[in-house]
């Protein structure tokens, strides 16, 4: 694949605000949030595999890449994402 002539910067101009007493904790929060995102992405890829197997009994990598959930399945995924957020980011003291 030819390289794009456009290269976006991946950093943001401007001082990053510090939320916690140590910037190391801010950094660790980013690690946790990104890791949680990876878990959600992985579970959706597996969910895609399961739906494809239900439909066809066998699948290829191309099947996975091309899979676009219908509205019902997308709505189920939204609920699953919310479930992950709710469980992983459960705050102490929440009822």
């Amino acid at each position: 694949m030819t390289e794009s002539s456009v290269k976006f910067p991946r950093h943001t101009k401007g001082k990053r605000p510090q939320v916690f007493d140590s910037p190391d904790i801010d950094q660790m929060m980013t690690f946790i949030i990104e890791l949680t995102t990876e878990v959600s992405v992985l579970s959706e890829r597996l969910n895609t595999v399961e739906h494809l197997l239900d439909a066809r009994g066998t699948i290829s990598r191309e099947d996975i890449e091309n899979y676009i959930p219908n509205a019902r399945i997308e709505a189920e995924r939204v609920e699953s994402r919310k479930g992950i957020v709710k469980r992983v980011f459960r705050m102490h003291g929440d009822k």
Partner: protein, 402 residues
């Protein structure tokens, strides 16, 4: 009402070039949910904690609850719940844009080619007028506003529109978890357009200007409300205007995009019947806002209406809401937020030349979530206005005296 593509199909759909992978879509979907959780669910929980626990505790100790947003800030800065909310919200804002950078970058050349083709053929009859000599003011270049890498204006190659696309798709990711924001139509233009037809039924604007229009999507709402209207949009950023032009032509919406600094509009006096904007002024120093409002007054025709959607002013909100709204000043690279919100908007409009009795601030019902049966009761004041961002949109504006 969803915009339909041009019947002739004579130009490609620029958005069709954007093809995120399965996992990129999954990532974007998760970031949208995380953003809604932090900026809405945690916000509501924080407010509940503040009002039912934190403020009463201060009142017991000191005789009165905190009176200013600054006092609340001092309390909340060391509050763990608030800190975790800020961390989740800040990270999800960053990730909103990070999650679209790769898929846009991959197809940037293809999108730029579509942009060039559309600018040649212009089947909807819209125009794109650019000014390569226009200098970007510091309030655009100094920081990456909204944490978007490259801010509003960055261009990397000739005829670039990739930043325009990136900003549009990034915003969509961020709004993915909100119940009332979806679809192509700019909800602000849709809501204010409808409100104008209901509140001013005799008003028949021939020409509208959207200031700080970026990709122009809010203009579609005014075109839907007034089908014969001539739609114009100005912005400093060529990349967002190019992207907007390509989209508008495909969708069959005739829009005239012009790259200008709104502080120095090049339209004749009284050229427009309607002047609008959406979340624009809080991005600017007040001195620029003052100059832009003077320009609005100049190019607005007698009998015309100006309506700007913005954040509610400090004076309109209690201390908690001011503390909460002003979060973006620190955490979203929006350094002019607080200065803007502290202004008396009616005074600013009077300084710009409008008559005081013709100036207004009000809340416009959000179109998609408002029952049409309730609408007349909002207009008459029988129903209380909806809070900004929670079913209503704060606007300030004026009618220009005939």
């Amino acid at each position: 009402m969803v915009a339909k593509p041009s019947d002739t199909g004579s130009v490609p759909n620029i958005d069709a070039a954007y093809r995120p992978t399965h996992d990129e879509r999954a990532r974007q979907g998760f970031v949208g949910v995380l953003r809604a959780h932090s900026s809405r669910d945690m916000r509501n929980a924080l407010e509940h904690r503040y009002r039912t626990q934190i403020a009463p505790a201060v009142e017991r100790q000191e005789g009165q609850a905190p009176q200013t947003s600054r006092e609340i800030g001092k309390l909340m800065d060391t509050d763990s719940y608030y800190r975790f909310h800020s961390a989740l919200r800040y990270n999800s804002q960053e990730m909103m844009y990070l999650s679209v950078l790769d898929p846009v970058e991959r197809v940037a050349d293809e999108m730029i080619a579509v942009g060039r083709e559309v600018a040649e053929s212009r089947p909807a009859g819209g125009t794109l007028t650019l000014d390569p000599s226009l200098e970007m003011p510091r309030y655009v270049t100094a920081l990456d506003v909204h944490l978007a890498p490259g801010s509003f204006h960055s261009e990397y190659v000739d005829d670039d529109l990739s930043q325009g696309a990136m900003l549009a798709y990034g915003s969509k990711v961020g709004l993915g978890g909100h119940v009332y924001r979806h679809g192509d139509l700019g909800v602000i233009g849709q809501s204010i357009g409808y409100w104008l037809t209901q509140k001013y039924p005799q008003f028949k604007p021939k020409r509208v200007l959207d200031v700080g229009t970026q990709s122009g999507k809010n203009l579609f709402g005014y075109i839907d409300s007034y089908p014969e209207i001539e739609a114009h949009g100005v912005d400093l950023s060529a990349t967002t205007l190019r992207y907007g032009h390509a989209r508008a032509e495909y969708l069959g919406k005739t829009v005239h995009f012009s790259q200008q600094n709104a502080e120095f509009l090049d339209y004749p006096d009284g050229y427009f019947d309607l002047i609008v904007s959406s979340f624009f002024f809080h991005e600017l120093p007040v001195a620029a806002t003052q100059r832009i409002l003077k320009q609005c007054h100049r190019v607005l025709a007698p009998g015309g209406i100006m309506t700007h959607m913005e954040l509610p002013s400090h004076a309109d909100c209690d201390a908690w809401n001011n503390f909460y709204w002003d979060w973006d000043a620190t955490y979203n690279n929006e350094p002019y937020y607080i200065q803007f919100r502290s202004q008396n908007l009616v005074e600013l409009m009077v300084e710009a030349g409008f008559d005081k009795e013709r100036c207004f601030t009000t809340s416009v019902p959000n179109f998609e979530t408002t029952d049409p049966a309730d609408y007349p009761r909002f207009l008459s004041g029988q129903l209380p206005p909806m809070d900004h961002g929670r079913g209503g949109w704060f606007v300030f504006g004026a009618e220009k005296t005939v």
